[in-house]
């Protein structure tokens, strides 16, 4: 039986997402275990080790403060790696995209599917951290379940940023600048290991530019059940960044692939 009509946009995006999931799940052991181990290492290393010197932050034991902070970064890292090195390899070395766009898939379908897959990975990674934290008794509010959806959007945000970088880069080693210059500082300036209000005012304002700050703000709000009006700003930051950067990233990648 032949399919007579073109698959819809949703079907096409889903098929791309499905391809990524199948390839990811193929190595489920090596892909699926580390997300659970990393938060444990972090809590032991930084939480117990450093926590002994820190005591409390904003009347919260340091380990609890830290715990909530570490739900977001794995979503950032997984999306950043997926859409830099992963995308570059699919694009330049494995030529996987050439195969995909030879079927009835266009560039837009291809990268929207990829962004959604990165989001899915973010959701999975944040869930893994949340599960570990719950087992350790570090999560109190049931509202904390919403952090996994923030993980989804966090990963999409870093997916589009990373795709934009990938659209510019011609040499895989150049990603080092992106990671050292943007991802790592973003991690330290996002209120994860220490609260930003301990920084000088200008640095605290500067830190607001980094995307991860906004994810961490939202996650803390849901974990501690303390909501502020500024959270709406965080939400809009994330959504607009995904839409605007995503638009330009896909446009640039299209010009790179369709010559």
């Amino acid at each position: 039986m032949n399919n007579i009509s073109l698959p819809s946009f949703a079907q096409r995006v889903y098929s791309v997402w499905y391809r990524h999931v199948l390839v990811y799940v193929k190595n489920i052991f090596s892909n699926g275990i580390p997300p659970f181990l990393e938060p444990i290492l972090f809590l032991l290393g930084v939480g117990l080790g450093l926590g002994g010197f820190v005591g409390e932050i904003n009347n919260i034991p340091y380990i609890n403060f830290l715990a909530v902070g570490i739900i977001a970064p794995p979503a950032m890292f997984t999306a950043a790696y997926e859409c830099t090195f992963g995308t570059f390899i699919r694009l330049e070395f494995d030529k996987v995209y050439d195969g995909m766009i030879a079927a009835s898939i266009d560039i837009k379908d291809l990268f929207i599917g990829e962004i959604l897959f990165a989001g899915t990975k973010g959701l999975f990674f944040s869930s893994a951290v949340l599960l570990v934290l719950s087992v350790f008794g570090l999560i109190e509010s049931p509202m904390a379940i919403f952090t996994v959806f923030i993980g989804f959007f966090t990963a999409m945000m870093f997916a589009v940023l990373s795709l934009l970088v990938t659209s510019v880069v011609n040499n895989i080693n150049h990603f080092n600048f992106y990671f050292t210059g943007f991802i790592t500082p973003g991690f330290f300036l996002s209120g994860i290991v220490f609260p930003l209000n301990t920084l000088p005012k200008y640095l605290e304002l500067f830190a607001q530019l980094f995307p991860l700050v906004h994810s961490v703000n939202l996650m803390r709000a849901f974990c501690f059940n303390s909501f502020k009006i500024s959270l709406i700003g965080d939400m809009f930051y994330i959504i607009f960044l995904i839409l605007i950067v995503g638009y330009f990233a896909i446009r640039r990648l299209k010009n790179k692939i369709i010559t």
Binding site: M1, N3, Q11, K95, A102, S104
Partner: protein, 305 residues
């Protein structure tokens, strides 16, 4: 008149100020096998990629690109939906099995799993890879991968197959296997467009050919017409003791010397036989002329780089 599957008019493509495709015109009737011949860098692959929207052509005056009534610049998805594309290099997911690769690919065409399963069986059966269904891509030989590319392109029952050098680098058995399959597909009404620089391939399976060089179409016709119109019927190749041949400006023959062989062309078999008799067996090779002779005559014997 035959229905037209592909029509290309005034097609141009410029990369870095050099014309890769230069004012190309051709038409491919439905159900025929159409070959684009040419040396490396002639613009064959670029021409094909324009047809399914992978490459954007220049918008020169009077241009037209039409694939089953669709313009690839606008309707790339409609074209790709009815077209199977077989690239030069394989681009499978190497970690996954043959079956998983085909299942994923069926989804790109919007086939449900229920629709995809019989299609996968059928294309693997057609290309004789049924036993490799569970194998990983890494475990396949080069010839199997090329056949699997064809199987993958057939998943959505295409009306058009586009093949970029389908048998380059393959052993004779696989080449003949692929040619047979392409003939079967043509009988079923599939239109086939292929690039090649194997003259034998063009001769064996193409109904109509164009020869391209430096982006331009330099000759066109059926394989047999191209031979009849461009070259004498017989060739005597003198391989050893070349200096024994004395060119006495004899009638009915044309002599070409290149590198370390001498080629004597003629429409008169006796004329070349007579010359051949003056050599030892093994010093010469007498044969009918073929597309390769045409090709070399038209595109020149020097490297095209």
């Amino acid at each position: 008149m035959d229905k037209i599957a592909i029509k290309v008019k005034n097609l141009c493509k410029v990369y870095d100020n050099s014309k890769i495709v230069d004012n190309l015109n051709f038409e491919v009737p439905q159900g025929s096998c159409f070959g684009i011949l040419g040396p490396n860098g002639a613009g064959k692959t670029t021409t094909m990629q324009i047809l399914y929207g992978k490459v954007q052509h220049e918008r020169v005056e009077g241009y037209e690109v039409n694939v089953f009534g669709h313009d690839p610049a606008k309707d790339e998805l409609q074209i790709k939906f009815v077209t199977g594309i077989i690239p030069q290099e394989d681009n499978f997911d190497a970690e996954l099995s043959v079956f998983q690769n085909l299942l994923i690919y069926s989804k790109f065409y919007g086939l449900s799993k229920k629709q995809a399963l019989p299609r996968i069986e059928s294309v693997l059966d057609f290309i004789d890879l049924k036993t490799k269904k569970a194998s990983k891509i890494r475990e396949l030989s080069g010839g199997m991968k090329r056949r699997l590319l064809i199987a993958r392109a057939l998943l959505n029952n295409p009306r058009l197959l586009i093949l970029d050098e389908p048998t380059t680098g393959l052993d004779p058995q696989v080449r003949h296997h692929i040619w047979n399959k392409l003939r079967v597909l043509k009988k079923q009404g599939v239109t086939i467009l292929l690039t090649t620089h194997y003259m034998e391939e063009a001769y064996q399976i193409c109904d109509h050919l164009i020869i391209m060089d430096k982006g331009k179409k330099i000759s066109e016709g059926s394989p047999i017409d191209l031979i009849n119109n461009n070259i004498e019927k017989y060739v005597l190749e003198i391989i050893k003791n070349i200096s024994d041949f004395q060119d006495n400006n004899a009638q009915n023959i044309r002599v070409e010397t290149s590198h370390d062989r001498t080629l004597i062309y003629s429409d008169n078999l006796d004329a070349v036989k007579e010359i051949a008799d003056s050599f030892q067996p093994g010093d010469y090779y007498l044969r009918q002329s073929n597309l390769e002779d045409v090709f070399l005559r038209i595109t020149g014997k020097n490297f095209n780089e």
